[in-house]
């Protein structure tokens, strides 16, 4: 079943040794859950092994595994977003923390001056630890949308398609997340 060309290019025996580290690191950055990331990598190897025959040799072995991995990550996201769809109903409450009925900033949560140089990159390790903690506080759906937007630099249309959410839901999620993140960072880092 497997022709010569394909066996020349794919070497499942060495997959774990050669690629598990890179695949795992990529997955972990995107799913934020060590166990889930491990499962996704394992599933990637399984799926790849089952599809050896479909490998056309058009891409390298490594890229081929990464394509499968990315699909597995999207599957994981979809499972999560289906579970978490109800959270969108609670969105309005979240906005009430920031804006009054007329849509103006509430005193308690209105942005302060951070007195920071916004343009130069931050190098403090502590800052990133805090930023990470603030991100962890966001909902799963939000973190997924953020990961796709900022880490993978995808456009909103593409993210909506992948997560099967509407554009308006997407903007609600991102809008709320930015408000939450901004407040968190302000409290924990800039205005202690």
């Amino acid at each position: 079943m497997i022709n010569k060309k394909e066996t020349n290019l794919l070497n499942p025996k060495n997959w774990v040794k050669n690629y598990s580290e890179q695949l795992f690191r990529f997955a972990l950055q995107r799913v934020n859950d060590r166990e889930a990331a491990k499962d996704i990598v394992q599933e990637t190897f399984f799926a790849a092994y089952k599809n050896l025959e479909n490998f056309k040799g058009e891409v390298s072995e490594k890229n081929w595994l990464f394509i499968i991995l990315k699909n597995k990550i999207i599957d994981h996201y979809r499972k999560k977003t289906n579970q978490l769809f109800t959270e969108l109903d609670e969105c309005e409450e979240a906005f009430e923390n920031y804006f009054d009925e007329a849509g103006h900033w509430k005193k308690e949560t209105a942005p302060h001056n951070w007195n920071a140089d916004y343009k130069s990159p931050v190098e403090s390790k502590e800052f990133f630890e805090i930023l990470n903690k603030c991100l962890q506080k966001l909902s799963e759906l939000t973190r997924i949308a953020f990961t796709l937007k900022y880490l993978d630099e995808k456009e909103s249309d593409e993210i909506c398609k992948e997560l099967m959410i509407s554009a308006s839901n997407y903007w609600v999620v991102i809008h709320r997340a930015k408000l939450q993140l901004r407040t968190c960072i302000e409290k924990k880092w800039f205005v202690k």
């Binding site: 499942p12 997959w15 774990v16 040794k17 598990s20 580290e21 795992f24 690191r25 972990l28 950055q29 934020n32 060590r34 491990k38 990598v41 394992q42 190897f45 399984f46 092994y49 089952k50 906005f95 920031y98 804006f99 007329a102 849509g103 103006h104 900033w105 209105a110 942005p111 302060h112 001056n113 951070w114 920071a116 916004y118 990159p121 931050v122 800052f127 990133f128 930023l131 990470n132 991100l135 953020f146 900022y150 880490l151 456009e155 909103s156 903007w171 991102i174 809008h175 930015k178 408000l179 993140l181 901004r182 960072i185 302000e186």
Partner: protein, 88 residues
């Protein structure tokens, strides 16, 4: 006169709308009229001006986050074992 007031009113957006427009602007997903309304709002609202700068700051820095905790040797072995079982 009345007409001018109506014009003015329709150009006014709330902070909630302005912050959303700021976020959409990052992706160039805002219309010309939205951009005008946002610019006007930013002229008079210092909170939203802070928000605009801080939002951009956060977008830039989110990209630089990384959580590293590599796969252990034992975990790799286990993966390999599972894969080998499949190939038997």
């Amino acid at each position: 006169m009345v007409c001018e007031i109506i014009m003015m009113e329709s150009l006014m957006i709330s902070c909630r709308e302005a912050t959303l427009a700021i976020i959409k602007k990052e992706e160039r997903k805002i219309s010309f009229s939205e951009r005008i309304k946002l610019a006007l709002h930013l002229m008079i609202c210092s909170f939203c001006k802070f928000f605009e700068k801080q939002n951009k700051f956060l977008s830039v820095n989110i990209k630089n986050i990384s959580s590293e905790e590599p796969l252990s040797g034992a975990e790799q072995e286990e993966m390999d074992k599972k894969l080998n079982e499949l190939s038997k």
